[in-house]
Amino acid sequence: MIATTMTEFAGSQHVIEVIYLVASALFILSLKWMSSPTTARHGIWAGEIGMVLAIAGTLLHRGIVDYTWILIALVLGTGIGIPLGRVKMTAVPQRTALSHAFGALCVTLVGTAEFYLRTPDVPKFMMSVLSMEVILGGLTFTGSLMAAGKLQEILPQRPITYKGQNIVNLGLLGIAIAVAVYLVMHPEAKQFFPLLVGIPLIFGVFMVIPIGGADMPTVISLLNSYAGLSAAAMGFVLDSKLLIIAGALDGSSGLILSIIMSKAMNRSFANVLFGAFGQVQPSAAGAQEAKPVRSATPEEAAAILAAANKVVIVPGYGMAVAQAQHKVRELYDSLAKKGVDVRFAIHPVAGRMPGHMNVLLAEADIPYDRLIEMDEINGDFPATDVALIIGANDVTNPAARTDQSSPIFGMPILDVDRAHTVMVIKRSMNPGFAGIDNPLYYLDQTLMLFGDAKQFVGGIVRELGGGH
């Protein structure tokens, strides 16, 4: 940046660039090794080494005159990071949302500082990427905070909608883009810059308000993607190739996950963001009570499970809420002891973030080769004696296959209704999160097991003789 010192320190500058090059390669390897559980931990080491190298290399930067505050901030950040790395596994979705917010905060603040340092001489391209950095960063910051608040249940999980909501939201985004365009033309008009930061901050809040808990896997993935893209934009502003690469990797990762999630719900991004899914359908709520269902006690459920050869357990968000995963593990153990083949069917959007169920079950020490993806296990349901559903609802709703009028028609589901016996652990007959009635509950082979998931599974385990 300062031409006179450039030649003098060109040597160390090259060293830094080589370090960044190595760090970039390590980051790519880190993600590559994540492809399988057997190599995934190498991935972390590669990432950590890359990160330490990159930070150490940056500290060699010739322009740095003061290390005190850098070190203080690094220590403070570490102090906040350690407890955030030790949260309970059930709190992982909100922790992830919170860390998206922190990442976006960093990018937004750096973008803001860079603008005020550079104005009024900001080239058009620079100002364009800087605007992108600040807009994406700002909306990701507040949007992720909102998502974290909903997941932590500080904020209501049900979507909040009002008339003209989409017009307000799109209007806000439009104004932010208009301000950005104006600033690209007139980078000296710094009185408008607060709008460029402020409007996306408000937009982020409004964007997540109408989104319900069931859509969180898609929203978290999208926010992940935005956080990555804003970091890549920051890389353009700072002319840092390392940052461009890391941001592009994070951005594409988030995008792939968003695509997988929205496919698993048979919905488009636009529909997730503007569709306000998961509203209660008041008309349907009253009519359901009349239809008969069969229910069973823990004793009866235990007898059926003990007599089965093949059991598939379908976990959902309800299992996470009831913290039932450890009891489920006991059930798995006592059934396995009796020679029953027990597997777990994992729907891509079960839970509140991609892979949520896998992490919870792995925490409860259930071997990962027992966790089977939807496409792989769906063909096995006709040969399954018992499908036991714990806290999952919409992902098992056969109306998605058959009822064209259902809001979830076309969504890929777990074909549990093809199992010989279906058992559903559920608190009551209240419709699930999306407020959609589930015809599965009225089938002849379905038994409803009413109660708290943790207690009910505990009851079954006691009956099987493996309880504590």
Binding site: G77, G85, L105, A113, M353, N358
Partner: protein
Amino acid sequence: MNSNLIDGLFIFMLACFIGFEVIRHVSPLLHTPLMSLTNALDAIAVVGAIVLVGEHRSNFAAVLGVIAIIAATSNVVGGFLITDRMLKMFKSSRPTK
């Protein structure tokens, strides 16, 4: 400046393709740790904040930079810690049986 910009766009495009190819092969089993790992890697933005604070070109920039370093560092530390904890939990049944 201009050639840097073009270089940057090429790098961005290639990195996006690499990202898509690499991440497409990540097992859905590991999607949660994947997200916490990319989050930690993304916090490499801390290098921009470090330079901002270290160069101390204005008090305003330095203050924003300090907050930015704190936010990003907490992601680096917390992200790697929790990813590691999660991956330690994934065990196969094969070695024991």
